[in-house]
């Protein structure tokens, strides 16, 4: 590894006031696009490309990477405060972030989200550096066979997120899987349950589903109960810088989890085709699964905020790898970034790994890490103010959140029908909440169902049923059996349904 080159690249970034200025401008722009539901990082990059046009390659690339890498840091804010995800991968943060706000811990939740995002981003960058020599074999080890089993593995995590009854969790999870079948069949081109509606051809939109399942029922409950988001809390109001710092401290208190989920996130990001939604939910499931006190999940466990937020920032580091060195973007956001790099005169591909081209790679990695750190510092300043929002009276807050929710649903696929879909999902979400059925399994089914279906078909077409015997597949099968084994062991140890599965969030 070229340590001199890495150090020289750091000097290129921090030694130039111009580059530091660009970082300082790019970070708030990126966070803004993440924080407004429906805008998202992709649109952000597309809109700033004209401004980057005249810059030299290093400055332009630095600006874009800085902006892109902090989108999900901003995206956690509306998830935590209102249950409205800023971006798809920030949806998993709602499950515990929103209850923390309701418990009067909005500041702590925001601090944990920022700290986790920052740490995830930095670890993602380190991961990128560490894996440079091993890149090709690892990325190429993942075929549709492994994708299918990885999706199955994610689906088994439903058991961990089922609350007081495994049967309820599985039913909700399978309902989510069924909803995932609403779309144009990818293998036959036949319409499945689309009722002639073109907007359903591409499947049930995840943003609309998450908004309906989480945000709407919470607003209904808040409207019925009166008071403010944090009004139900029995603890004394805690906001201000202290809560935020406590949240950041939580990230380091749970340092093994933070590092694990950062690495898992970077790993999933590195494999093109799985996507950020899968990364955050799988990491959320992992946090619940590996916790000694899983009963706290869904009710305001800070680990439930840390896990998805580390993952959705670290995956950006991971997805830079295939984007830069294979010219195969790891995500749709990276696809746009790839186009912008080409425009700036950086030609992604294996040639970028040649020593004379590595300078720009190191600059990008530093840009990614510094932007993540800068985002945390900038947000510490405004986070206490954001925390106050959780004490705003419901009748002032609800209209504002509903506007955000409808805006988010509309902008996600730019179709008004999506708002109707969100309302329908809201009815489902309301009853799930009312009768204490767990909601996360639904989203997991909806997100992982299409990945499982698509990769199963491909794996069957490529190898037939023998795909299950590939070495990678066998490892994944082992992991799935282990997960189920742990679950069964816990059940047996507690004899009856363990008390951690009881849910009483009202």
């Amino acid at each position: 590894m070229d340590l001199g080159g890495i150090y020289a690249a750091l000097l290129t970034v921090v030694g130039s006031p111009y580059h530091l200025f660009l970082l300082a401008v790019a970070v708030p722009i990126g966070m803004f696009f993440g924080a407004i539901p429906g805008l998202g990082g992709k649109l952000g990059i597309v809109l700033v490309i004209p401004f980057v046009f005249g810059m030299d390659a290093v400055a332009g690339a630095l600006f874009l990477i800085a902006m892109h890498s902090v989108v999900h840091t901003g995206g956690s804010v509306p998830s935590i405060l209102f249950g409205v995800p800023g971006t798809g991968p920030d949806a998993a943060t709602i499950v515990d972030g929103l209850p923390m706000t309701q418990n009067g811990e909005a500041g702590r939740a925001l601090g944990a989200a920022f700290g986790a995002s920052g740490l995830g981003g930095v670890i993602g960058g380190i991961f990128l550096l560490a894996l440079l020599p091993l890149l090709q074999p690892i990325v190429l080890a993942f075929s549709p066979a492994e994708f299918f089993l990885l999706a199955l593995f994610g689906i088994t995590l439903i058991a961990m997120l089922s609350g007081d009854s495994l049967a309820k969790g599985m039913l909700v999870g399978f309902f989510g899987l069924m909803m995932a079948f609403i779309k144009l069949d990818p293998q036959t081109g036949i319409e499945r349950y689309t009722f002639g509606q073109l907007f359903l051809w591409d499947g049930v939109d995840i943003i609309a589903a998450v908004l309906g399942i989480f945000a709407l029922p919470e607003m209904i409950a808040l409207g019925a109960a009166g008071g403010s988001m944090a009004g139900e809390s029995k603890v004394a109001a805690s906001y201000g810088l202290k809560g935020v710092l406590r949240g950041i401290g939580d990230v380091f208190r749970h340092w093994t989890l933070s590092i694990r989920t950062s690495v898992i996130g970077a790993f999933i990001g590195m494999i093109p085709g799985l996507g950020g939604d899968a990364a955050s939910w799988i990491c959320y499931g992992h946090a619940a699964q590996s916790s000694k006190t899983p009963e706290r999940f869904g009710k305001g466990a800070v680990e439930g905020v840390i896990a998805p937020e580390t993952a959705n920032n670290s995956k950006e580091g991971g997805s830079l790898l295939p984007t830069l060195f294979f010219a195969v973007p790891g995500s749709s956001g990276m696809a746009i970034l790839l186009g912008a790099f080409v425009m700036l005169g950086i030609q992604p591909g294996p040639a970028l790994a040649l020593p004379q081209n590595m300078d720009i790679v190191f600059v990008l990695i530093w840009g990614l890490m510094l932007a993540n750190v800068l985002a945390v510092i900038m947000f510490i300043a405004v986070a206490p103010g954001l925390g106050y929002l959780s004490y705003v009276r419901g009748n002032l807050l609800i209209p504002f959140v509903l506007v955000l929710a409808f805006l988010g649903a509309f902008l996600a696929i730019r179709a008004w029908e999506n708002m109707v879909l969100m309302l329908a999902m809201g009815v489902l979400g309301y009853f799930l909440k009312k009768y204490h059925w767990p909601r996360p399994p639904f989203v997991i089914g909806l997100i992982l169902g299409p990945i499982a279906e698509d990769s199963f078909h491909k794996a069957m077409a490529l190898w037939g049923p023998a795909f299950l015997l590939r070495p990678g597949a066998l490892v994944m099968i082992g992991l799935i059996l282990l997960t189920i084994g742990i679950y069964v062991y816990r059940l047996l140890r507690h004899k009856e349904a363990p008390e951690w599965m009881r849910e009483d969030d009202d």
Partner: protein, 331 residues
Amino acid sequence: MRKVLLLPLVAVLLASCAQDPGDEGDGNFYDGRTIAYIVATDPGGGYDAYARLIGKFMQKYMPVDNIIIKNTPGAGHLVGANTLHRSRPNGLTIGTFNMGLIYGQLLERAGMAFDLRELEWIGKAAGEPRSIVVSENCAIKTIEDLLATENPVKFGSAGLGSASWSDMMLLADALDLKVEIVPGFEGNEGEMSMMRGEICAIFGSTSSFKNFVDSGYGHLILSVGDRIDGVPNAVDIVTTERGKRLVAIVDALAQLGRVTAAPPGTPPARLEQLRAAYRQALEDPELHAEAERLGLPIKPAFGDDVSALVNAALNQTPESVAMIKTAIDGT
């Protein structure tokens, strides 16, 4: 104080509402107005990039206030195309989408809400040969290998019914290729799969393989349409009459890249202004320079020429349609 500030604002708002966007034949119609440029995909990607580039330069040649991009993705460009078709034909809406929809119309697939011939064509920005790229992992090295192979060769393609899948089916039929098509590879997934040694080849638009080929992962073995140096062309390979006609259809569609159209019934005077601005934009050397930096090939055609191309592609004899149907649907 506030009221004083508010009054002129209200007056301006009222005045802007009062302007009738329907006034006909006025040379200054576009003065200070905003044009919506519909893109049938999400932000990012080729269609979006072309529209943003062309929109920016059209603005230079029209007195409009702004040309805004309106992304209406969904259902393989159908949502965007249908939205464009039913937009108010007042000259303030134009749009771009994938002309693979021609297959949908010829085969009478679900979801097409109109006849593509009804649209007012403004121009097209590109059109490039389609080609077969084979992975270096693959035993097939040349088109001769592919034609002579005994075992079916695995080709990746996008989802069933998509334009690229339909192209693939027509080519396989035209050249009588022994292929096994594995559908469902969107975007760059097919390239990853070739690198893993799963699928052997892909048939698609040549510029989309540029990174892959430049990186040394694969090479082109056949092109359809314009000739590429050192790559055999399908017209030299195809032997049967049926094959020649199918290749011609693939070529015709490949020529119709990145079209821009207006809704049916757009007033002729405004359509002329749109066409003129589009032509000036695409003849602007600055646009060419910018397109080159963005990696967007430019091969423009304008107005009636594009209408003629579209009509030629759609006005197939019933027997040609039957031929396309057997090639694509196998029935």
